[in-house]
């Protein structure tokens, strides 16, 4: 007589075995990724090899030539101990080249003894008026622009929260302290941004407590709906939507739940709950097929 637990184990194994659908879409995508990955690896290897070969050719060929022509020692000596005067002169020449303005034939031919200021009015006079104005207009005031950009960035990044909400949090008068799990969820979000609407936090905490601490599923659904209606773009929307989907499952409203979970599994809410959503969807699909 077989052990009933063994039979149960075998039954469960059979269930797991049935769940082997490869999923042609994911299979094809992975296959393409494998081929593309190997092609990239081969290209990287080819590039690395080409670089090494090029380096060897560029380094080895001149070295061999220098050795054959007997100049190797001289070149090495220059490289190891460059003459100081030459290097300083070279540096000065490089610097001078950098600082030299663009060559202007008229100025170059002017008498160096003349006062340079005499040439400046000439330049201003020669340039047409409209061009001078254009050039002046085109140059933006850089510091001011940078300042405006930073102000614009700050405006975009900061949420539209009123002054009262930004002020230090009022002491909790008649509110219960959120439980640990709720506090963890809230604190994680608080790390991203310091300013969280107190009312939003309270509404979310209420729904969370109802969901996890013994409220009925109907109550939980109502409270999640309340939160989502009040804060459709709130801090805790992904968490609220996911828990709402779980509530719908509990209430047997699988079609609605599936719609929400599919969005999570697709990554519409980023990486949040993607794995759990995918697994819940599988269970829901199984149940639908059984029906």
């Amino acid at each position: 007589m077989s052990d009933p637990l063994d039979d149960l184990l075998d039954t469960a194994c059979e269930g797991l075995r049935e769940d082997t659908a490869a999923g042609s879409e994911s299979g094809k995508a992975t296959g393409r990724a494998v081929i593309a990955g190997l092609a990239r690896r081969r290209r990287r290897k080819d590039w690395a090899m080409a670089s090494v070969v090029a380096f060897c050719v560029l380094f080895v060929a001149p070295t061999v030539w220098a050795h054959v022509t007997g100049r190797l020692n001289a070149i090495v000596a220059v490289l190891v101990n460059p003459p100081p005067a030459q290097s300083a002169r070279a540096e000065n020449e490089t610097q001078a080249r950098r600082l030299r303005p663009a060559p202007q034939p008229e100025i170059a031919q002017a008498d160096p003894a003349e006062d340079i200021t005499e040439t400046a009015p000439l330049l201003a006079e020669e340039l047409p008026e409209e061009l001078t104005e254009e050039l002046t207009e085109e140059l933006p005031p850089e510091p001011r622009e940078a300042e405006e950009d930073s102000i614009a960035e700050r405006e975009i990044s900061e949420p539209q929260i009123s002054e009262t909400q930004r002020s230090p949090r009022p002491p909790r008068r008649h509110r219960e302290a959120p439980d640990e799990e709720t506090q963890d969820v809230i604190d994680e979000s608080a790390e991203e941004e310091d300013t969280i609407d107190v009312e939003e936090r309270e509404l979310f905490s209420r729904a969370h407590r109802t969901h996890f601490d013994g409220g009925t599923s109907s109550q939980a659904l109502r409270h999640w709906d309340d939160y989502l209606a009040a804060y459709p773009h709130g801090r805790f929307v992904p968490e609220a939507r996911f828990n709402r989907a779980l509530t719908l499952i509990r209430l047997g409203q699988l079609t609605q739940a599936r719609g929400v979970l599919e969005r999570f599994a697709r990554g519409d809410f980023g990486a949040a709950r993607r794995t759990q959503a995918a697994e819940l969807l599988e269970l829901i699909v199984d149940e639908s097929l059984e029906r």
């Binding site: 052990d3 009933p4 637990l5 063994d6 149960l8 184990l9 075998d10 039954t11 469960a12 194994c13 269930g15 797991l16 075995r17 769940d19 082997t20 490869a22 999923g23 994911s26 299979g27 995508a29 992975t30 296959g31 990724a33 494998v34 081929i35 990955g37 190997l38 092609a39 690896r41 081969r42 599923s217 779980l246 499952i249 509990r250 209430l251 047997g252 993607r274 794995t275 759990q276 995918a278 697994e279 819940l280 599988e282 269970l283 199984d286 149940e287 059984e290 029906r291």
Partner: protein, 180 residues
């Protein structure tokens, strides 16, 4: 269909050979990967296995099928997906904690079957790597101990011993979960 030319092409890194092997074997490897690391990470493991295949073919001695060889790569590579396994365990645990709707008996039965599978998956996820891979190969995929030994590169006796201990642990696990 001759395997040897295919293997030779694989060793050379022929992408068409790899495509061919992938088409033939990806479903089986994916099923194994899902048992080992969960659905979400299975594709990563499958990709890992086939990416490693051309290099691994250099040590292929031809004493087993390509599928067996692929499974041995997957069994080894699944060790590196420990983090995925941790997420897999958490996901299953979270799903299992949700209270069940009791509105309809049919739905209840289906969900209970799902719970049994989830309970088994939790138990499998808790096993050590060696026990897990042995159980998946022998009990879930119903491979013989000879085949499993070939895949894992261990003696047949070792496979049987590991399977015995794995099943013992899973029975205890199911009992603790309230089954049996």
């Amino acid at each position: 269909m001759s395997v040897d030319p295919l293997i030779a092409r694989l060793v050379r890194g022929d992408p068409f050979a790899l495509s061919e092997v992938y088409e033939r074997h990806h479903a089986r490897i994916r099923a194994f990967a899902r048992r080992m690391v969960g659905n979400a990470s299975a594709e990563d493991l499958v990709q890992d296995v086939f990416m490693a295949l051309p290099k691994a073919m250099r040590r292929f001695r031809g004493d087993c099928s390509i599928e067996t060889f692929l499974l041995s790569i997957a069994a080894n590579r699944s060790r590196h997906h420990a983090r995925s396994l941790f997420r897999f365990r958490r996901a299953i645990g979270r799903v299992a904690e949700e209270p069940v709707s009791r509105r309809s008996r049919d739905a209840e039965e289906v969900i209970l079957q799902g719970e049994l599978r989830a309970a088994l998956e939790r138990g499998i996820a808790k096993l050590s790597h060696n026990h897990r891979v042995t159980f998946v190969l022998c009990s879930v995929e119903e491979r013989s101990s000879v085949e499993a030994a070939s895949i894992l590169g261990v003696p047949e006796g070792t496979v049987r011993t590991r399977l015995f201990h794995a099943r013992q642990k899973l029975r205890d696990h199911l009992k603790r979960q309230g089954y049996g």
